[in-house]
Structures are given as structure tokens and as C-alpha cells.
Amino acid sequence: MSARAARAGDLARRTALVVWRRSWLIAALFGVWWLVTSRGWVSSVKLPPPGDVWDALGRGFSDLDLWNAIVATLIRLAEGWAIGAGVAVVLGVLTAASPFLEDGIRPLIAGLQGVPTIAFLPLAILWFGPSGAAVLAITAFGTFKPMMLATYGAVRQVPPTLRQAARSMGARGLFFHRTLVFPAAIPGLVVGLRLSWSFAWRSLMAAELIVGGIDGLGQVLERGRELNSIDLVIAVILVIAVVGILFEQLVFARFEHWVQRRWGLEQAV
């Protein structure tokens, strides 16, 4: 009993230590922010105090429908990401399976990598009109490039002995790809999903800022600029950061951890 209590206390101490080590700098920055604004060392027109940002956040959620903006953005993100990742996985698997396709597609991808996704936005607007569709296209495209490369890499890294084992048992064709190549590539694909998610998130934010007349966090940010409301702008930036961190840490990190354990890539704890 007491040993268990001691262990629990130990765990709590260690958790507290981790939280402290990972949050001290952020806390310090907030402290500095509060100090320089409350003492008037920085003009509140350029940098409003934390309290104003907090109020703006509250106003945002009540008046500006920040919730709806977040939901609209996340739906667009999910759609664009799903389309981009889906196409990327199929093409990535095909590319890894065919040296001819690989030779053709790799220089193309390398060329595309050299152009920031947002540079394609004018093209997307001309094709799809200044609407959510253009933003969706850019998000999907931003997802596609890293996911395609990750898929290709994941398939190429399927251990040769696993391939040989499956083939020696008579697996071939579609069965071979469905039951061996695809599942064996999943740990690599999961890494790709996380990477492509952060690319999609960036492309989406940039596109939403530029394309007007739609819902979404980017447009709330843009409205804040138009209204000269720095507190709202900072509040939305914080919201964007929090959404990004939530997905990165809670969704992807956990999923990746689970897959790695299941695939025996790390020792079960």
C-alpha cells in the first residue's frame, strides 16, 4: 500500500517536473509581455497587454463566431488533407512499384518542392474562382507533396525479407500489395500523415488569409487587420497555435506511438 502510494507520489513529482521544464520559457515570455505592456514601455497600439488579448478572445468567441470559423477551417482542412493524402498514397505506392514511373515522377516532385504551395493560389483562384474551392485545392496540393514522398519512402523501406517471405508463401499481385506492402508501410505512412498535416495547415492558413468572402480562421485574422485590432490578431494567432499543438500532440503523437508499438518498432511499456 505505502509502496504504491510512494510510487504514485513519485510519478506526480516527475510529471510536475516535466510540466515545469516544458513551460517555464512560455510562462516567462508571458511575464515579459505583461511587464513591458503594463509599464508602458511598449505602445499598446503596437502590442496590447495580455488582458486585452484575453478580452478580444472572449469577444471573438461571442461576437465574431470564432467557433464557427474554427469549425469551418477544420472541415476544410480535413477535406483537403483527405483528398491530398488519398491521391498521394495511391501515386506513392504506384511510384515505388514501377521504376519507370519513379524515374518520371521524381524530378517532377523535386521541381514542385522548389515552389511554395501558396504560389499556386493565383492559379487555383483562376481555375476555381475566389472561393472555398480554391482554398481546398491549395490545401490538398500542400498535403500531396510531402505525403507522396513519405509514401514512396515508406513503401521502399518495407524490409526485403518480409517481401521475400510473403512471396515465398505464394502472395502476389494485388493480394501482395494489400496484405504485405501496405500494412508494412503503415508506420512510415503515419509519419507522412503528421508531416503532411502540418504542411496542409500552413497552406490552408495562407490561402484563407488571401481568399476573401469565406468562413475560417484566416479570414478572422484578416478582419482583425482591417479593423486595426491587434488584440484580435494576436488572439487568433494563439488560437491557430493551440489548434496546431492539439492535433500534433494529442492526435498524431498518440497515433504514431500506438502504431509503433503495434508494429513492434519500440518495446511495449
Partner: protein, 282 residues
């Protein structure tokens, strides 16, 4: 004894002048010929780089010889499968499948119905004493258990030829001995023809009816041994130890010959094959 069960044995495998090169790096395996009879246990033993694993991969149909022919029942081997099952050095289990599904994989590839698959997988797992871990995943098993699963996965296909590529070389000595005994027992119960690749001389002699000793640079058969010791065998059997000593001597002299050749002295000696039958019976 076990090698010649009938007066005129019909080989199950026949290799005729099989050779393979590593691209520009020269010959991995010089022209090699051998036969395997139904139910015969053959060991291929030799130092690393002697092409023994290459030879096994070609028999498995996972690699194509540059020259020569490999026939199974007189028909050329063109790809994997067809009564040949392979056990690899690192179990090569699918980590995302549990043990039972790993064992069922080959049956699934062949389109065997679910109930039949389940039944045969249980049977194969019982043969390797692992029926109780069917629901576990490979990373939850020890190295020895994983290798047993790999053996069950091959046995479930009821192969007429079982190909084993250094299956015990990554295991500790104790586990290795246990698995050698189990393999001997399983082979006595099921009697497939086995081609067993190893670099462990005693293991080769302990398990096999016939041992082919290979030498490196390029790989070739330098000696054939018939191990005429009744089963079940014991690793300490003096007859097995005597064969091991002879193989060791032979390997040393091969190394010396290679050194002389590499130093530029003398003509490269012909890779002669001198079958010495029934050494143990002397």
C-alpha cells in the same frame, strides 16, 4: 540410410550447373550441381560469402540463376511457391499480424477457406508447442519463439521441400540446441525434404543425411558427406563430432589454398568435388 530409401531414388530437386554472379563483383556461386531426394535432409554449410544463401534463394525461386537449371520433379523452378516453403534467418514475421494470422498467411494467399485455415494453423502451432500464444503479436515473443512461429508458418503449407536459411544463427546457444532437437523431431514426424543452410558445422552434421561443404571465392561445393547416424541423434555423438573435425580440416586447407592463390603463387587449383561416402561408417 535415410538418404537412399528406395533402390532407384527419383530426386525431388535437381540442380544442374547452377551459377550466380554479384554483378561486377564476380562470381557468388560457381557452377553447382546436386540432387535432393524426397524426404532427404540436406545441409549446405560453409563460411560467409560461399553462396549458400544465394543457392537457397534460387531454389526458393526468389532469385534466378545466371546459368544452369533447377528442377523440382523434373519441372523447372520459375518462381516461389509450389510445395517449397522458406524459413528465414530473422523469422520475417509480419509484425502487424498476431501469431495465428501469421501462420495462416500462406493459406490466405492460396485462397484456403477461413475455417480450414484456422484448423491447420492450430495444428502447425501445436507442432512447435506454441498453440497457447496464437493471439500474441511477434514483438511480444522471444527470438526462439518467433523462429518457431516461422517454422509453423512454413509447415502449415505442408511443403514437400522445406528451405531453411540459417534459421537458428541469431539465437543463443541454449535456444539453438532446443530448436535443433525440435526440428529433428518435426522432420521425423512430417518428413519433408529439407535444404538447411548454416555456417555451424556441428549443426549441419547433427541435422542432415547429407552435408555439402562449400568454400568461398567463388562459392562452390568442395566436399559431400553422408551422415549415416541413426536418429534421434545426440549432438555429442562421436561420429558427428568426427565429421565436424573433418569439415574443419577441409575448410582450413581451403583457406590456405585461397591464401596461396591470392598471394600469386601457383595455379588456381581446380575446384574439385570429391565425394566421400559414408565417412561416419569408416
Amino acid at each position: 540410410m535415410a538418404a537412399h530409401p528406395s533402390p532407384v531414388p527419383v530426386p525431388i530437386l535437381r540442380l544442374q550447373g547452377v551459377a550466380k554472379s554479384y554483378g561486377a563483383r564476380g562470381l557468388a556461386l560457381a557452377e553447382t550441381s546436386l540432387e535432393v531426394q524426397p524426404g532427404e535432409f540436406v545441409s549446405l554449410v560453409g563460411p560467409s560469402g560461399c553462396g549458400k544463401s544465394t543457392l537457397l534463394a534460387m531454389i526458393a525461386g526468389l532469385m534466378t540463376p545466371d546459368r544452369g537449371e533447377i528442377e523440382q520433379h523434373g519441372a523447372p523452378v520459375t518462381g516461389p511457391g509450389e510445395g517449397r516453403a522458406v524459413v528465414f534467418q530473422d523469422a520475417a514475421l509480419m509484425p502487424w499480424l498476431n501469431v495465428r494470422h501469421n501462420v495462416e498467411y500462406g493459406l490466405r494467399a492460396q485462397g484456403v477457406a477461413r475455417a480450414e485455415r484456422r484448423r491447420r494453423a492450430e495444428e502447425a502451432l501445436e507442432m512447435v508447442h506454441l498453440a497457447h500464444v496464437g493471439d500474441r503479436h511477434p514483438h511480444e515473443l522471444s527470438g526462439g519463439m518467433r523462429q518457431r512461429v516461422a517454422i509453423a508458418r512454413a509447415l502449415v503449407l505442408r511443403p514437400e521441400v522445406l528451405l531453411m536459411d540459417e534459421p537458428f544463427s541469431a539465437l543463443d546457444a541454449r535456444t539453438r540446441t532446443i530448436l535443433q532437437d525440435e526440428l529433428q523431431r518435426i522432420w521425423l514426424e512430417t518428413r519433408p525434404a529439407v535444404v538447411f543452410v548454416t555456417h555451424n558445422l556441428l549443426e549441419a552434421a547433427f541435422l542432415a543425411d547429407t552435408v555439402y561443404l562449400l568454400s568461398a571465392g567463388p562459392g562452390r561445393i568442395v566436399q559431400r558427406y553422408e551422415v549415416d547416424v541413426p536418429r534421434p541423434r545426440d549432438e555429442g555423438d562421436p561420429r558427428l563430432v568426427a565429421i565436424r573435425q573433418d569439415m574443419l580440416r577441409r575448410m582450413r586447407s581451403e583457406v590456405e589454398r585461397a591464401n596461396v592463390r591470392d598471394a600469386g603463387g601457383g595455379a588456381p587449383g581446380d575446384p574439385r568435388v570429391e565425394p566421400v561416402a559414408g565417412l561416419a561408417a569408416q
